[in-house]
């Protein structure tokens, strides 16, 4: 019997439009592109798994092919699940750690000073490249001293006193690398008379999925569905996220890739800018001072996939005085852990080139984007500081 989980490949009309819009296929001819690696090859793979082609691993799961496809083929999903189903498992130290942002984070935040020093130190980077195949040119995100969760403990009482509240799924990045974004979110929502609650959470699973650790991703997903689900049931509150990729995982990857039932949370989940739009529409707009700066907005691929870019733009347009430039939508090439791998580093840089060029041409004061990995990539490759829309709002509110 052929096991067919995702038969959307059958809707493919072979038009090749997906391949035209695939940033990886554009950057390297080693990747045959979404049409070939997705619907075309799937027909062969389901008959004979031996026919799987290594070139699949080039796909960064940006999902741009799915946005372009006129026939609703879930191309990126087909490719990701083929990676797990048909590739022979091979242990790799690097991928093991890259996949476990939470493990890495909870270790690194204890020794943040040393870790940040070491990862910026060239001989160490040289060794990382040599033995782990982590590109020495890549600049590492800095680790915070302690976790966001730890910092929040002192806040908890105050936040619980608000009449209106939300549950915040902060994700690994805020927890280990960037408390400021979490604090900015609290500041913005508090200014709108909304308290921020945390619940227990695990890494959303995006890096696990990308590195082929499906079973671990499933475990994390089940944990999050049950933990967030319980909080929602008990409180009736909405869940917000500030990371577009965490949001995509909770909403899209859990049911479509991990084949888990996320109905306990999916209708209570909002990406932050969507939540803000709804509040603004109700008249709950915080007082803001004019921001006389030029901001270039870059829309992350995963936010595009969820159709949420309009919400972020709408929120940014509410900031008085902001000179907003919306950049032509291009992939930055980072794709989470993709750009941390030597074998994909050049492709990743080549993909991003177009975006870096248009940012430089726009010559803004700051760049705005909703995704942490876009932020790393853009900060490494352009002279500009990159901020989350929530942080910009927090600045306007101060």
């Amino acid at each position: 019997m052929i096991n067919i989980d995702n038969i959307s490949f059958d809707h493919c009309i072979k038009c090749t439009v997906c391949t035209v819009y695939c940033p990886v296929a554009r950057a390297t001819h080693f990747f045959p592109g979404p049409k070939q690696s997705g619907p075309d090859a799937e027909r062969l793979r389901i008959k004979n798994p031996e026919l799987v082609d290594k070139s699949l691993s080039y796909c960064s799961n940006c999902k741009r092919c799915e946005i372009a496809c006129p026939s609703n083929v879930r191309i990126a999903d087909i490719i990701q699940s083929s990676k797990w189903k048909y590739f022979k498992k091979r242990f790799r130290v690097r991928d093991y750690f890259l996949a476990r942002t939470d493990l890495l984070g909870s270790l690194a935040t204890r020794l943040s000073f040393l870790v940040n020093l070491f990862t910026g130190f060239f001989p160490i980077k040289f060794l990382l490249e040599k033995f782990l195949k982590i590109p020495s040119k890549r600049i590492f995100p800095k680790y915070e001293n302690g976790t966001f969760h730890g910092w929040y403990k002192k806040q908890k009482k105050h936040q619980e006193n608000f009449k209106n509240k939300v549950i915040y799924f902060h994700g690994c990045y805020v927890d280990y690398n960037h408390h400021e974004l979490g604090r900015d979110l609290i500041k913005v929502l508090n200014a709108m008379n909304i308290g921020v609650l945390l619940t227990t959470e695990k890494c959303c699973g995006v890096p696990l999925i990308a590195n082929g650790y499906v079973e671990n991703a499933r475990k994390n997903a089940l944990f999050n569905i049950s933990s967030l689900g319980r909080s929602v049931r008990e409180s009736g509150l909405r869940i917000v996220t500030t990371s577009s990729s965490c949001n995509l995982a909770l909403k899209h990857e859990y049911p479509n890739l991990l084949e888990l039932d996320n109905s306990a949370i999916v209708n209570h989940l909002d990406f932050i800018t969507r939540f803000l739009c709804m509040e603004f529409d109700k008249g709950n707009l915080p007082a803001m001072k004019p921001m006389r700066i030029k901001a270039a907005y870059h829309s992350p691929c995963h936010l595009e996939r969820m159709g949420l870019v309009m919400n972020t733009i709408d929120v940014l347009k509410k900031i008085p005085g902001l000179d907003l430039h919306i950049l032509h939508s291009e992939c930055c090439g980072m794709a989470g852990t993709y750009g941390f791998k030597s074998e994909f580093y050049n492709v990743s840089q080549k993909i991003g080139k177009e975006l870096f060029d248009i940012i430089n041409k726009a010559s803004p004061d700051i760049v705005i984007t909703d995704c942490e990995s876009c932020k790393w990539q853009i900060e490494m490759n352009t002279p500009y500081k990159v901020m989350h829309p929530v942080s910009l709002l927090a600045m306007a509110i101060a």
């Binding site: 038009c15 090749t16 439009v17 035209v20 296929a25 946005i67 496809c69 609703n72 309009m310 709408d314």
Partner: protein
């Protein structure tokens, strides 16, 4: 979030409508679930190509006036001749602002050459397909070269030439055919299955091989006046590279739209989206409108697949979701439907009438003429039979015309999209005046 206008479908009809709305000062969002039919079209804008006897039409505007007097159901009849011309030149100007020029033969059609060497009438073309100089060369005693890129499998110059030779227009023409080697072919060859014109275009867009290609053209087509290729001159630097190549070779460079995805079509798609965005429009890609609430003859809101628990609202809505090919219409064994709102559809209840037995029937297939019925203001009818006053239909979703047989697809899409926008502007401004 509230808009003046939400447009469902980001093809040529939806985007033309959106650009016109924005220019009139309305706020506007387009929701589009996948890339549009532009990716499959020639990139030339057909206005009216063939008459009822399938003979080429010389002056499409004169013909439309005569034709619509007899066929009141045709979408052009609902626009009126002045609006059609206004719409087409509005469209031309919008593309020109993005650096994409359209050329035309005053009020007459010109012809374009297909990969199979068939001549097709069209009205607007890009500079590499029609301009005055090109028009002057064809049909004279001239030398025309058809060149292909080594390894490119979607174009066979000898077939093109064999068919053109059958045409009286080319009886005095000398033909040359040949291949040139694309400099990066070595690396493209690693992936021979996807060697499409888009792949060539991408590399050509970088300017790296301009001079090399020019040299090869001069070698292979030394005496030709005009050199024809499958479309390959990129997207972002199209005008610059076309000019440079003509200068370096001293020849006219002609592009034949090749198999999809169509480069000339993508140039238009790109230019329209970029015009729409720079006027402040919001384009939501990859999302699909799945339902809407119709009450008291008005569409109140719509819902999309990605955000099921939130509704989107606007004063007016445009349905420009295309025909069967784009999912604007669907069918099963017994009926033909408009899948999102279940609007009234015009079709024959007898299934045998839907399609001809011959795949390439000269008279095309009947189903192409089926679509959403509207009144003269382009408002569709709901399930209860009454018209929906704040909703307008445009483009391939409309019935009573045959874009294939008549060669009028893009012209109808542009005209109806433009007229829908005008109707919306009147409606919204009218209601503001009343307030």
């Amino acid at each position: 979030m509230n808009y003046d206008c939400i447009i469902i479908g980001g093809g040529i009809a939806g985007l033309t409508c959106g650009i016109k709305c924005l220019k009139e000062g309305l706020s506007c969002a387009v929701i589009s679930s996948g890339m549009s039919a532009l990716h499959f079209s020639s990139g030339s804008i057909d206005v009216f190509g063939y008459d009822e006897q399938s003979r080429p039409v010389d002056n499409p505007f004169n013909y439309i006036e005569k034709f619509t007097a007899l066929h009141g159901h045709h979408p052009y009849a609902k626009c009126g001749p002045d609006n059609i011309k206004e719409a087409l030149f509005f469209f031309k100007d919008a593309l020109a602002e993005e650096g994409l020029e359209l050329h035309h033969n005053s009020n007459e059609n010109h012809f374009i050459i297909s990969t199979l060497g068939i001549l097709k009438p069209s009205f607007f073309s890009q500079r590499s397909v029609y301009n005055e100089e090109i028009g002057g060369v064809f049909g004279k005693k001239s030398k025309i070269a058809f060149l292909n890129f080594d390894g490119y499998r979607d174009f066979y110059p000898d077939i093109t030439i064999a068919n053109l030779k059958k045409n009286a227009l080319f009886k005095d023409t000398d033909f040359i055919s040949g291949n040139i080697l694309f400099p990066d072919y070595g690396s493209i060859k690693k992936n021979p299955f996807e060697f499409r014109s888009v792949d060539i275009a991408r590399i050509f867009d970088t300017s790296r091989y301009l001079e090399d290609i020019a040299k090869q053209i001069k070698n292979k087509a030394a005496h030709a006046d005009i050199v024809c290729f499958p479309a390959f001159i990129g997207i972002s630097n199209f005008k610059k590279h076309h000019e440079a190549l003509q200068e370096l070779t001293g020849k006219l460079i002609y592009e034949i739209p090749a198999l999809p995805p169509s480069l000339p079509g993508m140039r238009i798609d790109n230019a329209l989206k970029s015009r729409f965005a720079s006027l402040g429009g919001v384009f939501i890609a990859g999302d699909r409108v799945i339902s809407g609430v119709i009450k008291n003859g008005m569409l109140e809101n719509v819902r999309t697949a990605n955000n099921m628990n939130e509704v989107l609202k606007s004063h007016c809505y445009v349905l420009a979701s295309g025909s069967f090919f784009s999912g604007g219409m669907t069918s099963d064994s017994a009926s033909i439907r408009e899948p999102v709102f279940n609007l009234r559809v015009e079709y024959s209840p007898n299934r045998g009438d839907w399609a001809s037995d011959k795949l390439f029937d000269k008279n095309s297939h009947k189903f192409i003429e089926y679509g959403v019925e509207t009144n003269d203001s382009m408002n569709p009818f709901g399930a209860d039979g009454s018209s929906i006053s704040n909703m307008f239909c445009a483009g391939a979703i409309l019935p009573h015309y045959n874009p294939v047989k008549d060669a009028c697809g893009s012209g109808v899409a542009i005209s109806t999209g433009y007229c829908a926008a005008k109707n919306i502007v009147n409606r919204i401004k009218g209601s503001k005046d009343r307030k």
